[in-house]
């Protein structure tokens, strides 16, 4: 695969390094000449100087034959324009933008960016998962269709204890994907009963996440 990465900060550098290790063809575009020199010494000459939002830079970088363009600068407006120019001028199949302000994630999707990665939301999620005894956790968003993967820990106060999957009044766009019970992972069947201590992994439409939370846990 040919991947163009725009922005040689920490994220851009490690991304380029990992992709190179997996034998992909990588070009890293960076505006700051000091960083270009610094990272070229470390990565081999795969870093070029330029403004990744400028069409001429992307043209020289061979954006027309790129499989993926990834914009990971610290400025959301730059990441947006890089992806839009890559998409509209060079018809790049997949554009990925780092989103610094989580508020912009929705907007970027509306404006044609294929994939958004919100570092703030990721960090919040990871910290959230590290805080013990939380009964309901949002694990991740799925790229398509506004779905999320969530995890619920069933306490003795949960309204679904003793019910089978069939008897639970699950919202229409929710599915229970797995149940972790001790060391065992159960693929749920309609007659699987929920027990105290079960960890339920479910896929849900974002609009029904709070309904599912109410069903599975008591706050």
């Amino acid at each position: 695969m040919y991947v163009i990465v725009v922005g040689a900060g920490k994220v851009g550098y490690y991304l380029a390094k990992n992709l190179l290790m997996e034998d992909h063809e990588v070009l890293l575009i960076e505006n700051d000449p000091a960083k270009v020199e610094y990272y070229n010494e470390r990565l081999g000459t795969v870093v070029v100087r330029g403004d990744g939002a400028e069409a001429s830079t992307l043209a020289k970088a061979g954006a027309a034959r790129a499989d993926v363009v990834v914009a990971v600068t610290g400025e959301d407006e730059d990441n947006l324009v890089v992806c839009q120019v890559a998409k509209n001028k060079f018809h790049v199949g997949r554009t990925i933008a780092r989103v610094n302000n989580p508020k912009n994630e929705h907007l970027f999707r509306l404006l044609g960016v294929d994939v958004t990665v919100s570092q703030t939301n990721f960090i919040l999620n990871l910290i959230g998962q590290a805080i013990p005894e939380r009964s309901f956790m949002h694990l991740m968003n799925l790229r398509h269709a506004g779905l999320a993967i969530v995890e619920a820990t069933i306490s003795d106060r949960s309204p679904v204890v003793g019910l089978s999957i069939d008897e639970m009044d699950l919202p229409v766009s929710c599915a229970i994907a797995a149940i972790a019970r001790g060391a065992e992972v159960i693929v749920p069947k309609p007659d699987t009963q929920i027990e105290v201590g079960d960890e339920i992994i479910a896929v849900t439409h974002l609009s029904e996440e709070s309904q599912l939370r109410e069903l599975l846990v008591v706050d």
Binding site: E54, E77, N88, K103
Partner: protein, 136 residues
């Protein structure tokens, strides 16, 4: 008309004063409060401190009832993003964007933004002037 201008630099401030004098309701957005010093004491419009690519800042500037959004910061990409937020999220009917880069100006004009490129305009004016000069 209700107008929001993002970027209170020389161009933004000048347009704001002209619109204000013509009786329009103008709100200025800038990240630096010092930029508002470019506006004269008589300026009758409002000022909002913040970045115009932030939905909440735009809401504070009354973007919901705006007829025209003008982006004149010195950063092309910020102007592009601000105008797209105004158009896509808030359905502002007219968005004027100043872009220094002619290629980006053409690209985003094709995508429906009303772009003005001073680089192209001023170069053309200089060429026109030179065309009128005779040699020595």
């Amino acid at each position: 008309m209700n107008v929001v201008i993002m970027g209170c630099g020389r161009v933004g401030a000048r347009v704001a004063v002209l619109l204000d004098e013509a009786g329009h309701q103008v709100t200025m957005i800038d990240r630096l409060s010092a930029s508002f010093e470019r506006l004269p004491k008589e300026f009758g419009g409002n000022t909002v401190l913040g970045t115009g690519i932030d939905e909440d800042v735009l809401r504070m500037a009354g973007i919901d009832h705006v007829d025209v959004f003008i982006a004149t910061t010195n950063a092309d990409n910020r102007n592009i993003m601000g105008a797209q937020v105004a158009r896509t999220i808030f359905n502002v009917p007219h968005c004027i964007v100043r872009l220094y880069d002619p290629v980006r100006a053409d690209a985003y004009r094709e995508m429906g933004l009303d772009t003005i490129c001073p680089t192209t305009t001023i170069s053309a004016m200089i060429m026109d002037k030179i065309a009128t000069y005779g040699g020595r």
